[in-house]
Amino acid sequence: MSLIALDPPAAVVSCGLIATRASSTDAVTILDRSHSGSRRMDRYAALGCAAASAALENAGEVRLEQGDPDWGVVLGSSLGCWASNAEFLVDLDDRPTPELSPGLFVRTVANAVNGEICIAHGIGGINHTVVSGWAAGAEAVAEAAALLAEGRARWILTGGVESPDDSLRRVHAAVRLTEDLRWLPETLEEAAAICLVTTGNSLAPADRTRILAYRRGHDPQGRWLLSTALEPSVGTVVVTNSIPPELLRSWREQAGNRRFVYLPAESGELGAAGAPLVLATASRFKGGLSSADRILVIARGIEGGTAALLLDA
C-alpha cells in the first residue's frame, strides 16, 4: 500500500511554535496573563494553548464564532498529561484524599489541551487527541488533513505538544536501562507546534506548504514505510524521532541521493511535536537544504507506530 493521496491537499495557513529547553517557565508565563483559564492549566495544556493562540494570531483575518462547527482541533502527544498524572499520583500516596485538588484531577485527561483550546477560541467542530507515542503528532496532522479533504471541517488546528517533567524523564531513564532500548536519547525536549490547516483549493494563499499525502502504520522493523513512501519527486527525507542506529543507517541508504535530515540530531527528541515542527517550518527546510520539490516527513514511535507526511513546500 502506498501513500494515501489527499484531494484536495491540505494547506498550512499559519503556525504557532513553542520550543524551549528551559524548564523554569510556568504555565502562566507561557501564556499571556490575561489569557482566560491559564491559571488552571498544567504546562502541557498551557503550551498547546499558547501555540494554538499564536497560530491563530499569525493567521490574521480569520473569523471564528462561538461553537463554530467548521473549526476543529486534532492534536497529538506522546506523554500528554502524564506530568499532572504523576503529580496527582504522588499526592494520592502522600496525603489524605480530601486534601487533594479536584482541579489537578481534571488535568489528568490527555484531551485537556483540546478542551482548553476550544474554550479559549470557541471551537466546536471535530475534536481528537491522538496519543500513539512519538508518531502521534504526524498521525494527528494526517487525520486533520483527511478530515479537511472530506469536507468535515474547513479549518483545523493540528500539531503536537510534549511537556515532559522531571519524574517522566526519570522513567524514561529507566526505560533506557533495558538493553535493546539503549539507543533512546538521554533527554526528552519540550515543544509545541500547532498549525492552522485548511483545504488547499480556495482558503489558503497559493504559496503555502501543502500536505499532499500520508500514510500511517505499525512498522516495528522499519521495513516498509520508507520504501513505499519514497516517490521520485521527494527531494528531502526528514526523520523526526530517534530511531535505532541500524535503522537510521538503513533509511539513509534507502534515501539514496536525497537530502536526509535526522531531526533529533538538530533539535533533540521532540516526541509528537517533531513532525508538526517540520510541517510548520517546511519552507525553510526546502530553501535551506534542498532544491527538490517535496519533503517526506517520517515520525516513528519507540515500538513501531509510524506515520509519513508528504509535503510540498
Binding site: 461553537g67 504523576a86 478542551g115 522513567v171 533506557r176
Partner: protein
C-alpha cells in the same frame, strides 16, 4: 474528495463486570442485572465504599489488567469475525480509545524511579509504558501493519475510536480495523471522581429524578470493522453497517457539559450528515447516561433538539447501572450494545429507574427489556474537556 468505502462490523468482544465475553455482558444488559458491587481491589472506605463494576478475576495472571482485558476481547472479536490465524494483516490496523492506558503499570515505575531525586533511575522497565502501550501490544500480538492509533478523549474515547477506525477503512488506509476501548478501575480514578463529587452514594439511576452520580467500572470492548465488499467476499457475517460518525468540542467548560447540549447536538448532527442520504430517523439511542444530574439532562435536551417531535418515540438507554461507567471503554461497550440491538431486535432497559424527572422526559425503557425491530442506532458519548462523539449504525 477521497474515495469512500462501506464499512461493516463483523466481530464483537467484551470484558466487563459481567465477565468475559459478549454473551454474559449482553445477558446482564437485557436482564437488567446490575453487576456493581462494593470495590474489592483496594480499600475504598474513605470514598464511602461506592459501588463499581470490577471485572471478575480469571484472566491471564501474567498480564497487567489493561493488556489482559484488551487481548481477551480482541481474541473473542476476531474469532467471531471468522478472520483466521493466517489472515492478511498487512492491511489490518487498530484504533484504541483509553483515558489512562497502562497507567497503573506506569505508576509503579514512577513510584520506583521518580521519588529518588538524588539518584539515577534504578529499576529498568522492559518496554515503554503509556497511553499507547495496549495498542502496541495488540499490534505486535497480531502482526498488524495498518494504522495503529491510540485516542484519548476521556470518556468519549471509545466512540471516537469507532469513528476514526471506520474512517481508516473508508479512506483505503486499511481493509480491516480493530476498534478497542479499554480502562482499568484504580484508586487513581475513584479518588478523582470522588473529589469531584461525581460518584453516587446510593445506586446509579440514569435519567431518574433522584439520580445523584455515577458508578465507575472497567473492562474492554472490541469491534472488528471491515470493508464491506471484502467481508462479504470472504463469507463473513455483517452484523451492522457503520454509516457515519462525528466528534465535537463543547467550547464551554472542562468538566460540566454545555447546558444547552450544543456540543452533543453538533456531534449527532455531524454523524447524521456524515451518513449522507440518511433519512434522519433512528430507532434506538445508546446514551452516555452516566446518572449525573448535568449529563443526563444535557443529553435529553440534545436528543430533543436533533430529533424534535420524533425524540419521544426513540428508546434511549443507558447501560451504566449494569456495568458501571467504564470511561475509555464505555463507547466501545455501548457500540457493542447497539450492534446487538440491531441483531437481536431486543432493546435492553435502563435499570434503577423509578421516579421520572420532568426535565428528562424521553422513553428510557425503564427496567424491562423490550422486543422491537430496530434498523438504525445511534451511540453517543460525552466527556471531560467538552468532547462529544456520535456513531450511527444500521442493519447491513
Amino acid at each position: 474528495m477521497l474515495s469512500r468505502k462501506r464499512v461493516v462490523v463483523t466481530g464483537l468482544g467484551a470484558v466487563s463486570a459481567a465477565g468475559r465475553g459478549v454473551g454474559p455482558f449482553w445477558r446482564a444488559c437485557v436482564e437488567g442485572q446490575s453487576m456493581l458491587r462494593p470495590i474489592s481491589r483496594f480499600d475504598a472506605n474513605e470514598y464511602g465504599s461506592p459501588p463499581a463494576g470490577e471485572v471478575p478475576p480469571g484472566g491471564n495472571a501474567s498480564e497487567n489488567a489493561v493488556a489482559e482485558y484488551t487481548l481477551d476481547a480482541v481474541r473473542e472479536a476476531i474469532l467471531q469475525s471468522g478472520l483466521s490465524a493466517d489472515m492478511d494483516t498487512s492491511s489490518m490496523g487498530i484504533v484504541l480509545g483509553t483515558c489512562l492506558g497502562e497507567a497503573e503499570a506506569a505508576f509503579e515505575c514512577l513510584r520506583a524511579n521518580a521519588s529518588e531525586t538524588s539518584r539515577p533511575a534504578q529499576r529498568p522497565v522492559n518496554r515503554p509504558l503509556g497511553f499507547a502501550s495496549p495498542t502496541e501490544r495488540v499490534a505486535e500480538a497480531f502482526g498488524l501493519s495498518g494504522p495503529a492509533l491510540t485516542l484519548s478523549s476521556a470518556c468519549a474515547s471509545g466512540t471516537s475510536a469507532m469513528g476514526v477506525a471506520a474512517d481508516c477503512i473508508r479512506r483505503g488506509e486499511a481493509s480491516t480495523m480493530l476498534v478497542c476501548g479499554v480502562e482499568m478501575l484504580s484508586r487513581f480514578v475513584v479518588s478523582g471522581f470522588w473529589l469531584l463529587r461525581a460518584l453516587t452514594s446510593t445506586v446509579v439511576r440514569p435519567f431518574d429524578r433522584r439520580r445523584d452520580g455515577l458508578a465507575l467500572g472497567e473492562g474492554a470492548g472490541v469491534l472488528v470493522l471491515e470493508e464491506r465488499d471484502r467481508a462479504l467476499r470472504r463469507g463473513a457475517t455483517a452484523l451492522a453497517e457503520v454509516l457515519g460518525s462525528a466528534s465535537s468540542g463543547d467550547a464551554h467548560h472542562m468538566t460540566g457539559p454545555s447546558p444547552t447540549g450544543d456540543g452533543l447536538v453538533r456531534a449527532i448532527e455531524g454523524a447524521l450528515r456524515d451518513a449522507r442520504d440518511f433519512p434522519g430517523k433512528v430507532d434506538f439511542i445508546s446514551a452516555h447516561g452516566t446518572g449525573t444530574r448535568y449529563n443526563d439532562l444535557m443529553e435529553t435536551i440534545a436528543i430533543k433538539r436533533v430529533f424534535r417531535e420524533d425524540a419521544h418515540g426513540i428508546p434511549v438507554v443507558s447501560i451504566k447501572p449494569v456495568v458501571g461507567h467504564t470511561l475509555g471503554a464505555a463507547g466501545a461497550l455501548d457500540a457493542i450494545v447497539s450492534v446487538k440491538v440491531l441483531r437481536e431486535g431486543v432493546v435492553p432497559p435502563t435499570i434503577n429507574y423509578g421516579e421520572p424527572d420532568p426535565e428528562c422526559d424521553l422513553d428510557y425503557v425503564p427496567n424491562c427489556a423490550r422486543s422491537q425491530p430496530v434498523r438504525r442506532v445511534l451511540s453517543c458519548s460525552s466527556a471531560f474537556a467538552g468532547n462529544n462523539s456520535a456513531v450511527l449504525m444500521a442493519t447491513p
